[in-house]
């Protein structure tokens, strides 16, 4: 019983790690393209976040299950195959069930295949761990990504359209610039600086910002 309890705690740790300590966008600063591309409305940001969450969890689980059959020397191409397979699944699903959103951001759904965050998780975690921890690691990392996208799109839609999830919130004249590409870069820059500030002010971090990468 004691053992089981401990495992549960560590699962929660894994999820928390993905959301806060290793948040894909704000902490690791990888897979940034969608952070700007689809976050001009909360709905699109949320949908892409869900798509990434799905792919991340499925890829991690698949890799963890197959890890004993994959020869280490060909692991990266195999991982890419697994990832692109699951991306095809979500691509076709979205095309069938979320047509309006798919028209707007179909390209970015397909681009999930090139997300470093997914490959990194598969390589660093899932290829070395059993199914259950890998599942929760994927869940945490995907949730962290989803939350980051929702935060960014929350500010952009609120300021740019005066609405949230399509429902009007404020009557004031919106700042159109937040919906344009410029606003996306700006919002991410400001938020990143803000999180660095929190880190420095309250947790004594160095606030060096991410190293950057894919």
């Amino acid at each position: 019983m004691e053992h089981l309890h401990q495992e549960k705690v560590s699962y929660w740790q894994l999820v928390k790690n993905g959301i806060f300590k290793e948040n894909t966008i704000f902490r690791l600063v990888i897979s940034l393209c969608p952070a700007v591309a689809v976050t001009n409305s909360v709905r699109n940001g949320f949908l892409l976040g869900v798509a990434v969450l799905f792919v991340q969890v499925m890829v991690n689980s698949t890799v963890a299950m197959l890890r004993n059959f994959i020869h280490p020397r060909v692991r990266i191409p195999i991982f890419m195959l697994i990832i692109s397979g699951w991306v095809t699944v979500i691509d076709l699903l979205m095309a069938a069930f979320a047509r309006a959103a798919y028209k707007e951001m179909g390209l970015y759904i397909q681009i999930i295949v090139a997300f470093a965050s997914i490959l990194v998780r598969a390589e660093m975690f899932a290829s070395k761990n059993r199914l259950a921890p890998s599942f929760f690691d994927g869940l945490g990392s995907g949730l962290g990504f989803l939350i980051a996208l929702v935060i960014i799109s929350f500010f952009r839609e609120l300021l740019g359209r005066g609405s949230l999830w399509g429902f009007p919130i404020v009557e004031a004249k919106p700042m159109l610039i937040m919906l344009l590409p410029t606003g996306g870069f700006f919002a991410v820059g400001i938020l990143m600086g803000f999180f660095n500030w929190i880190d420095m002010r309250f947790y004594g971090g160095k606030g060096a910002g991410g190293a950057g990468g894919h």
């Binding site: 890419m80 692109s84 390209l107 397909q110 090139a114 870069f185 820059g189 660095n196 990468g213």
Partner: protein, 197 residues
């Protein structure tokens, strides 16, 4: 014939400045922020990218038209395109190591990452979605590559100056680079509407 050439040229201009990959389509941001710290790396990287993108566009068009459409497996395009790009990048990696070891030493790390880069895989995907023909595909790929090169070189020259600027501490590094990018993209909006395809 002349009209066709005009169309290709328009496509090239549109891909390079109007729908610039970095500033309006937000692709390749990862590598854009990763390698824009030094001018030298940025230039080398843009040359590599332009070459890879142009050739990837051509290769993927050939495979799409002569293999995937006759076999009716276009739904597998993501899997196949990533395979093509990865194989091609592996080849260019080997060639570069032989031909230019100096450049390879500098860009080797990034070359290894190119195969999983959104900007490269986006070219064949957009070409397929827009149903471009062979020459149009190449023109689009080349234009996008040049557009990325412009973005990278601009950013590198700004960041070399930013290193010396007195930026508030939380904004040092990545955040200020994003805000600078926002300002460049504002400038690039001025190009929109030059050509309507």
């Amino acid at each position: 014939m002349e009209k066709e050439f005009t169309k290709l040229f328009e496509l090239f201009i549109a891909a390079s400045v109007i729908t610039n990959f970095v500033f309006t389509r937000f692709l390749g941001l990862c590598i854009f922020f990763g390698v824009s710290k030094k001018m030298e790396t940025a230039v080398g990287m843009s040359i590599t990218f332009t070459a890879v993108m142009t050739i990837a566009a051509a290769l993927s068009w050939l495979v799409l038209t002569y293999v995937m459409i006759p076999l009716e497996i276009t739904f597998l395009k993501i899997v196949i395109f990533i395979g093509i790009v990865a194989a091609f990048v592996q080849a260019s990696d080997t060639i570069m190591r032989k031909v230019s070891p100096g450049l390879y030493y500098k860009l080797g790390v990034y070359l290894a990452l190119i195969s999983t880069n959104c900007i490269i895989i986006a070219v064949p995907l957009i070409n397929t979605a827009e149903k471009y023909n062979f020459l149009e595909s190449i023109s689009f790929g080349f234009g996008s590559g040049i557009g990325f090169a412009i973005a990278l070189v601009l950013m590198a020259s700004i960041r070399e100056k930013l290193e010396l600027a007195d930026v508030p501490r939380p904004f040092k590094g990545m955040p200020i680079a994003w805000i600078a990018t926002a300002l460049i993209s504002l400038a690039f909006m001025g190009f929109s509407g030059i050509i309507t395809l």
